[in-house]
Amino acid sequence: MTNDFFRVLEVNLSTGQSRLHQIDGRTTAIGGSGLAALLFSRFGRVDLSWREEEQPFILTIGPLTGAFPLMSKTVAAFKSPYHDQYTESHAGGRSALALKFAGLDALVLIGRAKTLSSLEIGSRSIAIKDVAFMQGMDAYAAGKLLRRTSKGGSGHRSILRIGPAGEIGSAMACINADTYRHFGRLGGGAVLGNKNIKGIIIQGDGGFELPSDNGYKKLFAKVYSQVTGTKMMQKYHSLGTPANMQSLDDLQSLPWRNLQQSSDPEGIQGINGQRFADDALLRNGACSGCPVGCIHIGYVREKFSEDNRYIYRQVAYDYEPLFSCGSMLGITDAFAVLNVMDVFEKVSLDSMSGGVALAWATEALERGIISEKETVVPLAFGDAEGYRQAAHLLGTGANAFYLLLGQGTLAAARQYGGEDFACVLGQEMAGYATGELFFAAQSLGFRHSHLDTGGYSYDQKHAERDVEKATAFLLDDEPGRCLLTSMVSCLFARSVYTPEVLADCLSSLGFDAVATDLDVSGERIRRHRWQLRFASGFVPEEVVLPKRYYKVNTWKGAIDGQYLDALRREYGRRLCAFAAPDTPADEG
């Protein structure tokens, strides 16, 4: 199984031809994030628009994928339709193990199919099929049809697909991964849509020999008992991330009604993690290779006839979509939140971005900046039915307003007004109104994700205002996360997979060279990612921070605007050190 090189399948959608590459660099790029940066450097162009057909869409996995618990995620890398800069988006599900068992470290799509198509790959197969009949099809229906038309492999394959949002080029379009997971953020769905790819089916129909000695087996058992026996398991397994709803509301850190409030002690009772578990939780699911099973699946039902006839659908929920489609929209009923999420799933929009965008539209409508001429339907905080309709209009680009809003809340605000209350931190905010450091961290972070660094966690533990210390925390936190996303681990396991444990895991599989100097590797990968981001146009000073963020109250009191600005200046300045290829990372 252990190879010194990466096995990369390049599929040219324009010609229909594919090439299998053996690419060196395992010891330095490792896999996942590092491999994605390596491949973008080789196949991508930082100076060309994401729309150019030669631009790659890249999927990568890591050396530990499938071989250890929670090594279950896939990295997607592309030039983002949201800001036309290099980015990554990560997803669980089955795609990581499917790629592994298909014998690949990475899949690179270049070119553009002549008609709307599906791509099916396996360890001994590649097929591009015309699926023009699936045009405009929602992600649920597309998943069902792709399952039916792909022969065999039920449970042993991964099906990635886009909905109408990806086809119309929405910068918020996500890629649905195996129904309940997503490459959610920064417009990966539009990248596939631009390539005329409706779905990717990865058949995990191969396998590998494992080391014959007992070292690997013993280490696996040890790690397995750690991930299933610690509090981590309980945290993600029981209420799951939705537990954050109550705890962040208690901390006055949960965005409500377009961040006009950071707490609603009464409203949270209807949409906290316990409420979802008690009333709406149908069952749990897991990414392949992960015994934690953090996927929480709720249900919505719909009465379609007066004679008590119902249909029901299953909707996976996590903290982030509950915030964006719940508190951010002022919805305080669990089933109403799931009903809004259900529409975002169908159109295959990132529900975090979509919910935050509709929250802005609601306030803009209240203030008279826009009218129902733009929104088509009335929008009011707490009115789930209006948001269901608006989610569909946004995902299908129903008019000029929704088409523009799909390019980002700030893009719409620049035309219509209302930039001050657009809740955008580089992209639509994640659900952490925790304080100054998180606002600085997400607005300038590599993926504009709350998972880039632990700024949200730092905010919850530190009331002091020390720019140097806080900035150092962000900078010190990032390389370790780059290491994990190069293996590719779920970040929920970061307390288990210390650099020492990672080194042991790598060595047990024969990746001894990769296992040495992991700290150096994490730093190198961090820097390479940032180099691509800067080279593709990132300028920290140009990232706008809307005034709404200066008016938030948290458990620490009112936001300190001067401290926030100082953090952003210093963090941006320190990040600029990564722009040049040969600049030491720790230079101030």
Partner: protein, 142 residues
């Protein structure tokens, strides 16, 4: 001699930990397929999972189908598979009515040996090793 049962497959979350454990511990492989137990979805992820495996027949059709005696009846149910005697004809896999035996592309045969090593890796206790006389047919399938 106990047999592997799957009485609680309604609890299955599709993590594949059992199949990966079998592949890893019994067959020294990393795979979803080359294992004695394989988890398949039963019509998409929204409809649950099935554990495809040997159901431990007392008179196993695969034993009758095997031309070389590589498949032998196991006391209490199931089979004993002797690789040295196998010519990889695939007749056993074809004879199994529940697709419990897998033949990979290289011709190798994978069938549950009722060892129970997968059981400990199921986070929801879907799988149980049981004395055959205490098992009802429904509990075998789950």
């Amino acid at each position: 001699m106990k047999i592997l049962t799957a009485p609680h497959m309604e609890r299955c979350i599709g993590c594949h930990s059992c199949a990966l454990a079998c592949a890893r511990l019994v067959h020294k492989r990393l795979s979803w397929e080359t294992a004695g137990i394989r988890i398949h979805s039963t019509g998409g992820l929204s409809s649950g999972f099935a554990a495809i495996r040997c159901l431990a027949c007392l008179e196993a059709p695969c034993v009758d189908a095997c031309p070389t005696g590589a498949m032998a009846q196991r006391k209490g149910g199931g089979v004993i598979y002797r690789k040295k005697l196998c010519i990889q004809c695939g007749e056993c896999a074809a004879a199994c009515p529940v697709e419990g035996i897998l033949q990979d592309r290289d011709g190798s045969i994978y069938v549950c040996i009722q060892c129970g090593q997968c059981v400990d890796f199921c986070p929801h206790d879907c799988l149980v090793m049981r004395d055959p006389e205490t098992v009802t047919p429904g509990e075998v399938i789950g």
